[in-house]
């Protein structure tokens, strides 16, 4: 059970406070409600590039990191399809430094061409390191545009291509900031050894004076229901063939999301899962075989990803996976198996609650999902799933016409 208080400043900034007197640290987690899905399809990778620029100095503070480190703190950030999340941790007696730093970069950045040029190169090296210079590194770049034809989830957060990052201008940066980086498009979580009074006082002091902006959220289209099987084959210098199958699933706030999550656990999480036992152990066709969710807020994907053993035929491997998926459509999951994946989710939830930073991120994300109390209700959502739900959703999603398949073949 995570306890919290919440209040909203006049400028629209939502603040969530969580107190933990057993720690000597304090965390400030700032989530901006903007991700790669809000990008212009011709300027992709921008939300993430912007995240890098947020560390390049703000209007009144030249060196973000140096000031933070000098107070004994550390920070980082990540960008997803849906959101951009910044976090910093400080010894709790120095937490005001965090308020000072985080509020100044919400107020305005120190927009400089030089900093933009450097971060463009850094992000291009990141693109190469993580997506190009790795065996199978570009799988995500291939499967997303196959699965999404309309919705902006069709490109990964790093961007569609390097040229989009190369072409980013300082004007783009400024307008992005103006559109999305403001108190009324953010949620601030303050967690750790800090009282509500102090949190309140510091928020009023540092964040309340920041003006709200007019937010211009670009409208994007919902992905229409997929009506045909999609397949693509790529060849690369890799040691073994790989298959990726992506099925559309319900949105994060839909009850069906929890059902899909349990289905992915039944199929492919760990050594007791169905796919592992059937196709890695009993009848070995794969050296690795997993099932997982993309974890997006809008309608996302359930993915099956497997590396084929040498000599195994791709068609047979695909058929074997499909047969396992079909079992979920025709036969009820046994009580014990359902209980097992529910118990796993209970463990995951509790382990993910350890530490103020984890709790802070969870609170911020729950707010964006529309209900902070989700942090305490998710376990119940998993518990309420029954056999009928599993079978019904399996029937709905495990349909050839709802599937995008990538055959990643060894050259």
């Amino acid at each position: 059970m995570i306890q919290y208080n919440t209040f909203t400043l006049d400028n629209g900034l939502t603040v969530i406070h969580h107190q933990d007197e057993s720690t000597q640290l304090c965390v400030i987690n700032t989530l901006y409600n903007v991700g790669s899905k809000h990008e212009d399809p011709n300027k992709t990778g921008f939300a993430h590039l912007f995240e890098h620029l947020m560390f390049g100095g703000s209007v009144n503070i030249e060196e973000f990191d140096e000031e933070l480190q000098n107070a004994g703190g550390e920070s980082n950030a990540f960008t997803s399809n849906d959101i951009t999340n910044y976090y910093l941790t400080l010894p709790s007696n120095n937490i005001e430094t965090g308020f000072w730093l985080e509020s100044d970069r919400m107020l305005s950045l120190d927009f400089s061409q030089e900093s933009l040029d450097v971060q463009k190169s850094v992000v291009i090296e990141e693109f190469k390191e993580r997506y190009l210079n790795q065996p199978y590194g570009d799988v995500w770049l291939k499967i997303l545009p196959l699965a999404y034809k309309v919705h902006p989830y069709s490109w990964p957060t790093i961007g569609k291509e390097i040229s989009h990052i190369e072409n980013a201008t300082l004007d783009d940066v400024k307008s992005f900031f103006k559109s999305f980086y403001c108190p009324n498009n953010a949620v601030l979580v303050v967690a750790g050894n800090i009282s509500l009074e102090k949190c309140n006082m510091l928020c009023e002091k540092w964040f309340a004076p920041i003006p709200k902006h007019q937010i211009n959220k670009p409208q994007y289209q919902k992905e229409p229901k997929q009506t045909e099987a999609r397949k693509e084959t790529v060849y690369a210098e890799v040691p073994q063939d790989m298959i990726v199958m992506a099925y559309h699933i319900p949105a994060r706030t839909d009850k069906g999301y929890y059902v899909a999550d349990l289905i992915s656990d039944i199929l492919g999480a760990g050594k007791s899962s169905r796919l592992y036992n059937a196709l890695v152990k009993k009848n070995p066709m794969f050296s690795e075989l997993d099932a997982y969710l993309s974890g997006d807020i809008d309608e996302g994907l359930l993915l099956i990803e497997g590396k084929l053993l040498p000599g195994i035929n791709m068609d047979e491997a695909e058929l074997a996976i499909t047969q396992e998926l079909n079992k979920l459509k025709t036969t009820d999951v046994e009580d014990l198996e359902l209980q097992k994946v529910k118990n796993k989710s209970e463990t995951n939830i509790l382990f993910n609650d350890v530490g103020s930073l984890n709790k802070a991120m969870k609170l911020a994300y729950a707010f964006v999902l529309g209900d902070i109390e989700l942090v305490n209700k998710e376990a119940e959502h998993y518990l309420s799933v029954n056999q009928i739900d599993i079978k019904a959703l399996a029937k709905e999603i495990f349909d050839l016409n709802n599937c995008s398949t990538l055959y990643y073949r060894k050259k």
């Binding site: 430094t97 107020l107 210079n133 152990k281």
Partner: protein, 425 residues
């Protein structure tokens, strides 16, 4: 309220910290139980530690595969039955095999501990290494290795350790395809007999480990007929390559992976903690000289770090990065320039103070969760140190002078002593 945003709020130096200490007890049969009771969630991490690292094996791959096969079947349960049972309790098992030791770790909710221990006991005393499961594990390990061998970052690490320690030394050797293929069931059974059965050395339990939890753990330990005869194995000599610079061509790479470093003392050495500060300044955090110069100023890489690794019988220090092939020479030039600056110039006060404050702050972070407290404690255990080691750490960090940083750099970071390994094209 009018505020001057150009002025930083007052900060305080970190002067004290609450370190939750471990509570060790020894059972009559010699098993050491270490309890770290902390955290607000009803979760537990339990490490079962054995003197069963690659140092103790007689054949390459023996320690690692034995360790990974521990959960793959016992005479009572098949691998799937074990996995089903532990998964049913929502538990996770991870196994780890290093040079100095091996361990099995259980993550579970406190309420399910005793159920999980039933299966753990079978795994630690009665594993039977089914041929079929071993065949699959070997095959999949060979596949995984083939994928890893396409990664420049994996290759550079492997070449680096073999260069600085020697390919035959336990810290320098790595498993190759033939090693996997040469291992048979009997090798694992033998290693399990000599290094696991009744050889449980330590149990570290961290999280909400209340008194009833400890009773369960004690009862569990008493079931073992432990017979630990401590023998100190002679550690094989280091045999670093005479060739200090090595370039491995990998056509088609878009980036080069680089490691520059050397063997160095381990944690028992009196300079270790000061060297941690020196390492931090050079490449140990986001504000480090390498990161600022090579990433934040020149944009040559996504990341560049330096690290200090300590093992029971040795240690090493290195810088690692991946950068564009075309800009590699420029990057190398800057790396050596930063090393030279450290050896020749005194660090200014402000930079030194920031590094010290950051290091103390990160120490606070490293004692914040029950699991990281267990990691801190394990270090003490491995090197026969007392908690005073950490209390002194604070003092050493605070009192280190700019001159000491420079003289450490002079002593340990001479270019002639460094290895430079590159994989790229």
């Amino acid at each position: 309220m009018n505020i001057d945003r150009t002025v930083a709020p007052q900060t305080e130096e970190i002067s004290s910290f609450n370190l939750v200490e471990a509570n060790p007890t020894k059972i009559e049969n010699g098993i050491n139980i270490h309890r770290i009771q902390a955290g607000n969630e009803a979760v537990l991490k339990v490490d079962f530690v054995f003197n069963a690292g690659s140092l103790h094996q007689s054949k390459k791959g023996q320690a690692s595969l034995t360790n990974r096969m521990i959960g793959e079947g016992t005479s009572k349960y098949t691998s799937q039955q074990l996995a089903d049972a532990l998964d049913f309790y929502g538990a996770y098992i991870s196994t780890r095999s290093a040079t100095d030791e091996s361990s099995v770790t259980l993550y579970c909710l406190s309420k399910h501990l005793s159920s999980c221990l039933t299966y753990i006991y079978e795994m630690l005393t009665d594993a039977n290494f089914p041929e079929e499961d071993l065949k699959i594990l070997k095959q999949n390990s060979v596949q995984k290795l083939a994928v890893n061998e396409q990664k420049n970052s994996f290759l550079v690490r492997k070449y680096f350790y073999s260069s600085i320690f020697g390919e035959e030394n336990p810290y320098g050797s790595s498993i190759n395809k033939e090693d996997y293929l040469n291992i048979n069931r009997q090798d694992l059974v033998e290693f399990y007999q000599t290094s696991y059965i009744n050889k449980l050395e330590h149990i570290l339990i961290s999280g909400q480990a209340d008194d009833s939890t400890m009773l369960e753990i004690e009862a569990f330990c008493k079931k073992f007929n432990n017979t630990i005869t401590r023998k100190t194995l002679p550690f094989p000599k280091f045999d670093g390559s005479p060739e200090r610079k090595k370039f491995h061509n990998k056509p088609g790479s878009s980036q080069s992976a680089i490691r520059i470093g050397r063997p160095i003392f381990n944690r028992s050495h009196m300079d270790f903690r000061k060297f941690q500060l020196l390492n931090l300044i050079l490449g140990g955090y986001f504000g480090s000289r390498l990161m600022k110069n090579i990433r934040e100023d020149k944009g040559l890489t996504y990341g560049i770090y330096s690290s200090l690794e300590s093992y029971k019988n040795g240690g090493c220090w290195y810088i690692e990065t991946e950068m564009n092939n075309d800009l590699r020479e420029k990057g190398l030039f800057e790396i050596y320039k930063e090393l030279k600056t450290l050896r020749e110039e005194l660090i200014d006060n402000e930079e030194l103070q920031t590094a010290k404050n950051y290091l103390l702050g990160s120490f606070l972070r490293s004692i914040d969760s029950p699991f990281s407290l267990a990691d801190r404690y394990k270090i003490l255990l491995d090197y026969n140190l007392e908690y005073s080691y950490y209390y002194e750490f604070i003092e050493i960090v605070k009192n280190t002078k700019a001159e000491e940083i420079r003289s450490l750099a002079k002593e340990y970071l001479q270019e002639a002593d460094l290895y430079e390994i590159i994989v790229g094209c």
